[in-house]
């Protein structure tokens, strides 16, 4: 009996790994399919830098050029790392729409013996890589041209890398949750990933501290793992900046990590439940091979 239980575990682990790796390969083929290097440059370099530039101009006007203020680094880094939300979270959930509507392969993928959540998360891997390029480019541009105060020797690298790794897992979980919702929705889902990413931008302390929000909206920010993740990244990179904002100043690094891990697990469990429910609904309603005809 026990023997067969282990065999079964081993089989499903193999299935998961297979699904993940194949999906990651496919995702990379899609992401790197730049027949035109110019387009690649536009998407992975110019677009994020332009996004940051708009933010900088707005900041400059509102604060009358207070680029030395810690607020500037706060906003700039928050915005830069937020790129990961748009690439990883949105990327994972986008795989559902892409396969279902664009390539029309979702039904063949479901008929195959795959582990669907691993497949979806795998599709996000390439987006993480291209997202990393965009984040690096944005931060470098900030340091070179905008007087962004960043001392590489002062960065707490172990803390930074741990927070980043946790964040990727957390974002993949959010993406899976969104993918589950996408499976259930038949129409007008094209914008769901961007809409959620856009909404959370305001509620996660990415570009302004949660104190700016009205009282009744703040709980959303405190419930989001993104908030703690961005705080950890800022603390590890520019400790003094993070310290000048009251939101989480009473929380230690250890506590922040504990909260982030806790929320990542909670959202991970929710993601699995929602994804399974989404699959169930899609099978009940015949949505796996649905194509929206516009």
């Amino acid at each position: 009996m026990q023997f067969s239980w282990w065999k079964e575990r081993e089989r499903s682990l193999r299935t998961s790994i297979r699904s993940f790796l194949t999906a990651a390969w496919l995702g990379w083929q899609i992401e790197s399919n730049w027949t035109d290097p110019f387009l690649f440059a536009v998407y992975s370099i110019i677009k994020p830098v332009a996004g940051a530039a708009i933010l900088v101009v707005m900041y400059g006007i509102i604060t009358q050029g207070a680029f030395d203020s810690p607020l500037f680094a706060y906003i700039y880094l928050g915005n830069a790392f937020y790129i990961y939300v748009g690439s990883v979270m949105t990327g994972v959930s986008w795989a559902v729409i892409d396969d279902r509507e664009h390539y029309k392969t979702l039904k063949y993928i479901y008929v195959a013996p795959i582990h669907a959540p691993s497949y979806m998360v795998g599709r996000g891997v390439a987006r993480f890589l291209t997202g990393t390029i965009a984040v690096l480019v944005t931060i470098t541009a900030g340091v070179l041209f905008l007087n962004l105060q960043l001392d590489l020797a002062a960065v707490n690298w172990p803390m930074f890398l741990t927070a980043l790794a946790l964040g990727v897992v957390m974002l993949a979980n959010l993406g899976l949750l969104l993918a589950g919702v996408t499976l259930m929705i038949a129409h007008h889902v094209w914008f769901i990933g961007d809409a959620v990413a856009g909404a959370l931008y305001l509620f996660s302390g990415a570009i302004f501290p949660l104190e700016v929000l009205p009282n009744w909206l703040r709980p959303i920010g405190f419930a989001m793992p993104l908030t703690y993740w961005l705080e950890l990244l800022r603390r590890s990179m520019v400790g003094h900046v993070a310290a000048s904002f009251p939101t989480l100043s009473k929380v230690t690094d250890g506590q922040l990590f504990a909260i982030l891990i806790g929320l990542t697990i909670i959202f991970g469990l929710m993601a699995i439940l929602v994804f399974r429910w989404g699959e169930h609904q899609a099978r009940e309603r015949g949505l796996l091979d649905m194509v929206t005809n516009y």
């Binding site: 297979r18 390969w25 899609i30 399919n33 390539y103 063949y108 008929v111 013996p113 796996l288 091979d289």
Partner: protein
Amino acid sequence: MSEIPAIQTEALTRVYKIRGGKKSDPKELVALKDVNIQVSRSELFGLLGPNGAGKTTLIKVLTTLLAPTAGRACVAGFDVTKEPHEIRARINMVSGGESSGYGLLTVRENLWMFSQFYGIPSKEANRRIKELLEVVGLGDRINTKSSDLSSGLRQKMNIVRGFMTSPEVLFLDEPTLGLDVGAARDVRRFIREWMGESRDRTILLTTHYMVEAEQLCDRVAIINEGRVLACDTPAALKHQLQEAAIFQLQVSPLDGVPPETFEHIRGVRHFTYSPQDGFATLEFILEEEDVLAAVVNQLTAHDIHLQNLEKREPSLEDVFVHLVGMSMEEVERGESN
């Protein structure tokens, strides 16, 4: 093991809820009603029926893409609702008439990717891909981006995707839809050869081409409006019409004589009328040969000249007419409503 049927359904029913555009009360559409079929291992089983009969719906339920509303369905001995993962490891599916695939990947890459989901070692996968592409005549396109293939060639690529994994049970939904005559013939030949290679293979294919069902299938289920009306070998199905007589008459133009005149002759089971340039073709399924005399009498009475008369063996089309009361074409034109 071998006694377990490859496919078995019991009172399988599927209802679609259709949300009305404006009204919120959902309408229901019964796509499958109490379907009972049993397909044994090594059988090539056909589902024959007009548009909207429920063929694709049945395939979707059996391939675990769609949940049954009521009843039961098992594939390779596993229940579609309870054990979809067991089923997926043993089946594959191809639908014709659509162009799915990752256009940015080459033919080989598309197929290789799917082979990986099934855990086929790369080397073995590449060998099978090459071999099967040769068989369907796509060998020289192996490194072409699939977006550069015509829709017919893409369909051939998809057919390879289905056979490549050597499934225990293969589902083919109108595999020759949209292919030209030659390609369709190649595909039919390939299906037959593939089935001949091993006793452990089973195919369920849907079609609305009579010839395909007759030439390919060991057994055929005739399906209309979600119900299986008959299920047997093509020969046995046609045997039902043994005593019926089927005649095709070429006559001078009817010139205002209403075609119903012939439909109402006693003993005429089914009648079709197709006017052409300078003549008309009448086709009759008669209860027995003797009724022909009454038909000829009517022609004479209306001064219509008989130019040619041919007696034909019953086909599956005739069986369909016998069961449903009209031809598949008439059903598809919506003449029941």
